[in-house]
């Protein structure tokens, strides 16, 4: 090809105008910088007529395109069979030797010497929260409700963050979650709980949650109002927090 020598024309410093370019860049015979020509190509900003008409620039562009084609061809059908399952097992083998069980929390009466690890209790309480349809539980921190005594035997306070489907009134939903968590703390664990603070950190479109259809189907058409709904949900939570004196 006659004109594939764009890259072999006079090197840096000998182009027009004596303008500086980094030593690894290159000035084409027409005066354009190779890096700029390629950038224009990449950004799709090649409606500059010079790029189309100049033989040097077109050659440079063609080089880049050839490279792209070679990459795509080389990549076609490249996927080796990844055994992600085996890798996951190996990772989890190590993880299970380095668990973070968390602080010990009291089980039973004050005078007993029985404990449960925070991570395990949190798992049980999150699972309880998720028995409410569409609810996803996030952070679950469990702390002594009273100060003093180490480690404390008194009742605990649970702070749970959840993502819920947008089903007003959210206050009722939060209450359902609270009751499930209280129930599980007692029935599944035997953990004495003073308070359960439910913080709704986000809402999802109720049509996206796996729930029974019916009235919710109608809400689909109001999907465009979802952002507004989020605002009102947060407003509800803020009001709820204020009313119940939840800790920030």
């Amino acid at each position: 090809m006659a004109m594939n020598t764009g890259a072999e024309l006079p090197g840096p410093g000998t182009g027009t105008g004596g303008a500086e370019e980094p030593s690894d860049d290159e000035r084409l015979a027409c005066g354009r910088l190779l890096s700029e020509v390629w950038e224009a190509r990449e950004d799709g900003a090649d409606d500059d007529p010079h790029l189309r008409e100049c033989p040097y620039c077109s050659a440079a562009v063609r080089q880049l395109d050839l490279l792209g084609a070679a990459v795509r061809e080389a990549g076609a059908g490249r996927e080796p069979e990844w055994d992600a399952g085996a890798l996951t097992e190996r990772v989890m083998d190590v993880v299970r030797l380095e668990l973070r069980p968390g602080r010990p929390l009291p089980l039973g009466e004050r005078e007993e010497d029985l404990w449960v690890r925070e991570a395990m209790a949190a798992k049980a309480l999150r699972a309880a929260a998720e028995t409410v349809p569409g609810v996803r539980a996030g952070s679950c921190r469990i702390r002594p409700a009273e100060s003093g005594g180490s480690p404390a035997r008194g009742p605990v306070r649970v702070r749970l963050e959840v993502v819920v489907p947008l089903t007003p009134p959210l206050r009722d939903l939060a209450e359902r979650i609270r009751q499930r968590v209280h129930g599980a703390a007692d029935e599944a664990l035997g953990l004495p709980v003073a308070d359960v603070d439910v913080h709704i950190t986000d809402v999802t479109d109720p049509a996206g949650a796996e729930e029974a259809q019916g009235p919710r189907g109608a809400r689909d058409t109001q999907g465009a109002q979802a952002p507004q709904g989020v605002e009102s949900a947060r407003g509800v939570q803020a009001a709820q927090d204020a009313e119940e004196g939840n800790q920030p």
Binding site: A7, D24, L67, A70, A84, V95, E118, K123, R126
Partner: protein, 180 residues
């Protein structure tokens, strides 16, 4: 459920290893592909990604969700690959470059001999790039990331990232030209 990485990451940070397992299973395939592009070796890619996940489990309590979990994991994997590439002995002699068909997964068992040879040339010249150029080029060309994202991932300025990609492309285009 896609989109709940943040929830799972918070739970894993608090010690929920089952949540972490979901994250591993979900993101391993994509990260394996990325690591293999950078390292040119499926088995090294598995080591890199496995180590990255274990490191992530240990560091999750500090993570606190400032960025998306995938972004964070991505960064860990890329930097691990970068270190692995840097600790390889520099390749000077073409003969010492392993056959691209086997280790370099960018090369496919191509149909036409010509495209096969072109891909082989590409594979060889990729292996000759500096680790820094190779990593940035893979992130740009195969992952389609912006220079800002690449810069953040690798820990350089966007201009430096742009420069690395440019220099990589120059080396690669020169190799392709020479082959033709």
């Amino acid at each position: 459920m896609p989109g709940d990485d943040g929830l799972l990451a918070v739970r894993a940070a608090e010690g929920d290893e089952d949540a972490f397992e979901v994250l591993v299973r979900r993101h391993a395939p994509g990260l394996l592909r990325l690591a293999a592009s950078m390292l040119g070796s499926p088995s090294e890619a598995e080591d890199a990604v496995q180590d990255a996940f274990v490191s992530a489990w240990r560091r999750l309590p500090e993570f606190r969700g400032q960025s998306a979990f995938t972004t964070w994991m991505h960064r860990i994997v890329v930097n691990r690959c970068l270190n692995m590439l840097r600790s390889r002995r520099p390749v000077r002699d073409l003969d010492s470059v392993p056959e691209p068909e086997a280790p370099d997964h960018v090369v496919s068992p191509a149909r036409a001999a010509e495209s096969h040879a072109a891909a082989a040339a590409l594979g060889r010249s990729l292996a000759e790039l500096s680790p820094e150029q190779r990593v940035c080029w893979v992130l740009r060309e195969l992952e389609g990331q912006s220079y800002e994202t690449i810069a953040e991932t690798v820990g350089v300025s966007p201009e430096a990232a742009r420069g690395r990609v440019f220099r990589a492309r120059r080396s690669l285009t020169e190799a392709m030209t020479a082959w033709r």
